[in-house]
């Protein structure tokens, strides 16, 4: 027996229609079905946040969402963050502030950071640390990650002022 369900999921702006097993996890749909390997599987137990993507505009841990639960939804992965060939301010800031070492946690950190900046464009250091509590990093000690998110927030603010 293999229970298959049709899903239609918009991923990074493109509609993807597939027949999937009901038990297929969203992270495997993205990585294995669509070849979007930016989001990682770190813990597979909803702790580390490496699998974080946006589901209808909100950060979720895709190792704990079934692909069928995302039927009809809009998913954005790290691959969908850059617009027209230019990096998202968070991607720029992680680069500039050395917000990564091995890079394993980075896609999830950036997606969690992007979720925060949408809700709170001008976060304090505490706000940033709290918003990233569901994302674990084995390398950096978090310091530069927090700096990068704050720098991206400032870049976003000055861009708004300039616009």
């Amino acid at each position: 027996m293999s229970v298959r369900v049709s899903v239609s999921i918009t991923v990074n702006g493109e509609i993807k229609e597939r027949e999937v097993e009901s038990r297929l996890l969203l992270i495997h749909f993205l990585r294995d079905e669509l070849g979007l390997t930016g989001a990682h599987v770190g813990c597979d137990t909803t702790n580390c946040g490496a699998c974080t993507c946006h589901l209808d505009g909100e950060a979720v841990k895709t190792c704990t969402v079934l692909a069928v639960q995302a039927d009809g939804s809009d998913i954005v992965t790290i691959e969908g963050l850059a617009q027209n060939g230019s990096l998202h301010p968070l991607q720029e800031a992680f680069w500039e502030h050395h917000g990564l070492q091995c890079g394993y946690c980075t896609p999830g950190m950036i997606m969690a950071g992007a979720d925060l900046l949408k809700r709170n464009p001008d976060p304090s250091e505490d706000d940033v640390r709290e918003a990233l509590e569901g994302s674990l990093c084995r390398c950096t000690g978090y310091h530069n990650i927090v700096k990068a998110v704050q720098a991206a927030a400032q870049a976003g603010q000055s861009r708004e002022v300039a616009a």
Binding site: S22, T45, T46, N47, E58, A59, K61, V65, D71, G134
Partner: protein
């Protein structure tokens, strides 16, 4: 980690959901946010043969205020509650669950139906003396908090029933606090305490204290409540009352904490939660 195979339905109405659940038999399960159920299924500690997903059922999400009662749809997510701070204690406690990603998926109905003694919202429901509304093929009924939590992962919600609503007295004239102790910021509570106090000119008119993870079900710290009622609402009487927080509890020991350590945590956190509720300290 991949769950075992299961049939899946995402019905468009509550009636169809109840039908699917009843037809699915004893191994059919409702799926809300999936953030308690899917981790268990991935570890194969749970292997339902059928999942009935509530995501398309209309009318189960959002908060209504009516006659001093908050009526919260069962599919309302922790993040929804967190983002409405004017709801008071329930918003505050929901915002302390896990991390924002988890709070974007987990629901109040799932939290209360699952019956995990480490969950935060059961103690809140108990301390507020709220209730839940459930619907099954025989109609609707209301289950008061004091009867809902029966044992570890066991609640009074029947096999063919769907929790539709959570009812909480708004308790707007109470101060509130919630404290929990965790190893890492996002972790489950080793012990959690929620406190509500109503003051009248510096005297405690009423106190409610709910304990998380001090037994296989959430508990009221009645000895603390009794000690505080009628006494001055100051640091000294709070500290004295909080000493009784572990009375009548039977906390399970685990990797993180021995029962004795949990009793200690209950006393300390009860004092802090009461101080927060009385406005003596910030959250």
């Amino acid at each position: 980690m991949i769950p075992v195979e299961f049939e899946y339905a995402a019905p468009d109405s509550l009636e169809e959901a109840i039908d699917a659940l009843v037809q699915g038999g004893e191994d059919a399960k409702l799926l809300a946010g999936g953030h308690s159920l899917l981790p268990l299924m991935k570890l194969r500690l749970a292997a339902p043969t059928m999942l009935v997903d509530l995501r398309r059922v209309p009318g189960l999400r959002g908060v209504e205020r009516a006659d001093g009662t908050l009526r919260i749809g069962a599919m309302t997510r922790h993040a929804d509650l967190e983002d409405e701070p004017e709801l008071g204690l329930i918003s505050h406690a929901a915002g302390l669950i896990a991390d924002r990603q988890v709070r974007h998926r987990g629901t109040i109905g799932g939290s209360l139906a699952h019956g995990d003694p480490a969950s935060d919202l059961p103690a809140v429901l108990l301390a507020c003396e709220g209730s839940v509304g459930v619907e099954g093929s025989d109609g609707t009924r209301e289950i008061p908090a004091a009867e809902l939590f029966q044992d570890y992962l066991t609640t009074a919600v029947g096999e063919g029933e769907v929790m539709t609503e959570v009812r909480l007295p708004a308790l707007t004239d109470y101060g509130f606090g919630y404290r929990k102790f965790t190893r890492r910021a996002e972790d489950w509570a080793m012990v959690g305490v929620c406190a509500l106090v109503k003051a009248d000119n510096g005297t405690c008119e009423d106190a409610r204290v709910g304990l998380t993870h001090m037994s296989s079900v959430p508990l009221r710290a009645t000895a603390v409540e009794e000690a505080l009622r009628g006494s001055a609402l100051d640091a000294d009487s709070i500290a004295r009352a909080a000493e009784a927080a572990a009375e009548g509890t039977g906390p399970p020991g685990d990797l993180n904490a021995t029962p004795e350590y949990k009793r200690h945590l209950a006393r300390v956190l009860t004092r802090r939660a009461l101080e927060e509720a009385a406005g003596l300290t910030a959250a």
